[in-house]
């Protein structure tokens, strides 16, 4: 059995770069939700993967089963996601405000298990197509094909980042979040209610997770139990950018996406000894290397601790 030698052409390279940005935008969207919660509440929310999963299914339920127009279904689903996040915060996390951070992480893991299995029980374990308006349409620039769904993902992610930037800079709630994240007691002293801030953070994370779930299943993707697994690859994206920086989440996501796709293209040709499927491990390897150099991520700030 012989294999033909493939020269990596510019066409393939351009398409890979574009898909790297597209995949990276998906990771960035997921990572953004994580970072919002962490920045405001210092909680590493493992249940974010289930927001992504539930979000995809709720969007599917609205758009496919109940026939709502996709452009309306998506915002509605995001509202639903925000509600779920808010309920989770009031019912559970509020009670644990003083607990050790590790206990809170375990509770979010518990929520992850519950939501994942409930989703599978309600909707079934099959994969299904999301009726998005972009489908498999592509825009052809010469011999390079760019998927419309991917372009929309990139656009939506940029819009979300822009919105957050403005929100944190200029709105009072955003300012309140930053203040609470820096020093909760001082913020309380100036009249910023930590509970409102936490509620807002979790609701936003729920909405962002839903958006990420819908974007991940659009185009060539599908809605199914595997949506949650993508969220674990977003961990390196978050870490690389720094756990507290929304800008870092986006930069990290794009970086990881690009590295992953470039590795998938180039590694089998030039470094086959690394084994098959190395592109799945590459994000984690990159994460480790970056952390060794900058232990708080690219945009993170070192923790200040009382001794």
């Amino acid at each position: 059995m012989s294999t033909t030698v493939t020269v990596v052409g510019t066409e393939a390279l351009v398409e890979t770069l574009f898909s790297g940005v597209a995949v990276g935008a998906k990771y960035a969207l997921v990572a953004l939700g994580f970072v919002i919660v962490f920045k405001a509440t210092r909680v590493l929310n493992f249940a974010h993967a289930s927001f992504v999963l539930l979000g995809g299914f709720i969007t599917w339920q609205l758009a496919a089963e109940w026939g709502v127009n996709f452009y309306l279904a998506l915002p509605l689903a995001m509202v639903g996601g925000a509600l779920i996040g808010a309920v989770l915060q009031t019912a559970l996390l509020q009670r644990l405000l003083g607990e050790k951070p590790f206990s809170i992480i375990m509770i979010t893991i518990g929520v992850l298990y519950v939501f994942d299995n409930l989703t599978s029980a309600i909707w079934g374990p099959e994969d299904r197509d999301l009726p998005d308006p972009w489908g498999s349409r592509t825009i052809d620039l010469g011999s390079v094909n760019l998927a419309v769904a991917d372009l929309w993902t990139i656009g939506v992610t940029s819009a979300a980042v822009g919105a957050f930037f403005l929100f944190f800079r200029y709105s009072s709630l955003g300012l309140g979040m930053r203040a609470t994240a820096d020093d909760q007691e001082a913020a309380l002293a100036t009249g910023i209610d930590a509970r409102r801030v936490h509620l807002a953070a979790w609701a936003t994370a729920g909405a962002l997770g839903t958006l990420a779930g819908a974007m991940l299943s659009s185009g060539a993707g599908s809605v199914g139990p595997s949506l949650g697994a993508v969220a674990f690859v977003a961990f390196p994206a978050m870490i690389v950018g720094g756990l507290e920086s929304p800008v870092g989440a986006v930069v990290g996501g794009l970086l990881i996406g690009l590295i992953q796709q470039l590795t998938a293209l180039l590694q089998p040709e030039y470094a086959a000894w690394l084994g098959s499927g190395f592109d799945r491990v590459a994000p984690f390897a990159v994460m480790v290397i970056i952390l060794l150099v900058r232990p708080y991520g690219l945009f993170g700030e070192p923790e200040v601790r009382r001794i």
């Binding site: 962490f38 590493l44 559970l92 009670r95 644990l96 607990e99 050790k100 951070p101 590790f102 206990s103 992480i105 375990m106 509770i107 893991i109 518990g110 929520v111 992850l112 298990y113 519950v114 939501f115 994942d116 299995n117 409930l118 599978s120 029980a121 697994a229 674990f232 961990f235 390196p236 978050m238 870490i239 756990l243 084994g275 098959s276 499927g277 190395f278 799945r280 491990v281 984690f284 390897a285 994460m287 480790v288 952390l291 060794l292 232990p295 708080y296 991520g297 923790e303 001794i307």
Partner: protein, 382 residues
């Protein structure tokens, strides 16, 4: 005996009150007081007699509980005692499991040889991962250890001769489990009484659990254990008073990984064949999370908590799988119609974690401590 004066009531009774210790030697004893000694004897009796009373299938599950208990005891030393979060424990279990299949089943090594090799490899692996803990803390360390299971998956997937030598799996059935004349793998044969493999493996596993528990307990009470707790509480202050946090953290990782590898050996022997997709990758992450859930539900930092947690989680899942198929829980039919047992198990597992952390964050061990204190303080139990 010391010259301490006993109270009037004690003199009348002829002995000191309850578990009062009168000398340093008495204080150092592992099992103190009449109640604990009795309990120890009762446990020993149960250990010997249980396999003669219950079915092989249940014994198989209890062997798995034992494997998870050993791993949890090790992880508790790392997370509960030294405060280093690790979500990559499944990778170390994989080391032990593949030692069993490759060396024990594939190459026919004797039990002690591959068991010790597994522990040594675990120690080495832990010592290699340990330095990460020096550079990273808390959440960052947790996420880097997640990377461990994914890297392990990549390595195992590409190392076909190790992970898939026989028709896509790595069998461990033929691995020898014999210590001297006692052959646990084929079933003990003591002349007059012949025991099945499951019964023999139960005795071996829980003897190892007891050994691990004693090691961990003694470690906790030693100088090293105190150093670990100092690192957990305030590592900079610990450094000031002369504890070397670097060496302590690396040592903790090494010991935890060694115990994880030992757990992996028992796990592999209990199952008969191992699949790398369950020990690494996303399912490996779930296994690591199961370990963490065990020690949190059982009680962070306690040895008995690790064992109780393992029994609760592993046996509990099996119990639901067995009973759920037969009887509808809360009127909801469990097979096929509304929710399958796998999904119910997942929901209950998550729900249990949430409920425990809300109501008793310090786990089963603390729950037991509360009950015990109530009885000890009776009739002044408030």
């Amino acid at each position: 005996m010391s010259t301490m004066t006993l109270s009037h009531a004690s003199r009348r009774r002829g002995r000191p009150y309850r578990n009062m210790t009168l000398s340093h030697a008495a204080d150092l004893r592992t099992v103190r007081g009449p109640w604990r000694i009795t309990f120890a004897f009762a446990l020993a009796a149960v250990f010997v007699a249980l396999p003669l009373r219950i079915s092989d299938a249940t014994l198989g599950t209890l062997v798995l509980c034992g494997a998870f208990a050993i791993g949890a005891i090790g992880l508790n030393l790392l997370i509960g005692l030294t405060g280093q979060v690790s979500l990559g424990h499944a990778a170390f279990v994989a080391i032990g499991a593949y030692c069993t299949s490759y060396l024990g089943d594939g190459r026919g090594w004797p039990f002690l040889a591959y068991f010790v090799t597994a522990i040594v490899l675990g120690l080495v692996a832990g010592a290699v991962i340990g330095p990460f803990a020096l550079r990273l803390r808390g959440n960052y360390l947790a996420i880097v250890t997640i990377g461990l299971v994914f890297v392990a998956e990549h390595v195992l997937r590409n190392w076909e001769s190790l992970t898939r030598p026989v028709r896509g799996t790595a069998p461990t059935r033929d691995a020898a489990v014999a210590i001297g004349p006692l052959d646990f793998g084929a079933g003990l044969d003591l002349g007059s009484a012949v025991y099945t493999r499951e019964q023999s493996m139960f005795w071996l596993t829980w003897a190892l659990v007891a050994l691990a528990a004693v090691v961990a307990h003694n470690l906790t009470r030693s100088r090293v254990g105190r150093a670990m707790q100092a690192v957990r509480d305030r590592d900079l202050a610990a450094e000031v008073i002369g504890v070397e946090p670097g060496r302590t953290k690396i040592g903790a990782f090494a010991v935890a990984s060694a115990m994880g590898a030992a757990a992996g050996v028992i796990y592999a022997l209990g199952l008969g064949a191992i699949d790398y997709q369950e020990l690494s990758g996303i399912h490996g992450l779930f296994m690591s999370i199961t370990f963490v859930a065990i020690i949190i539900l059982g009680g962070l930092g306690t040895v008995q908590g690790s064992i109780l947690g393992a029994l609760l989680v592993i046996y509990g899942q099996r119990f639901i799988a067995n009973e759920g198929a037969a009887m509808p829980i809360l009127g909801i039919p469990v097979e096929r119609d509304w929710m399958s047992t796998g999904e119910l198990n997942g929901v209950l597992f998550g729900g249990l974690i949430i409920v425990f952390l809300l109501l008793e964050p310090r786990g089963l061990a603390a729950l037991w401590a509360r009950v015990r204190t109530w009885f000890q303080g009776w009739p002044f139990s408030y």
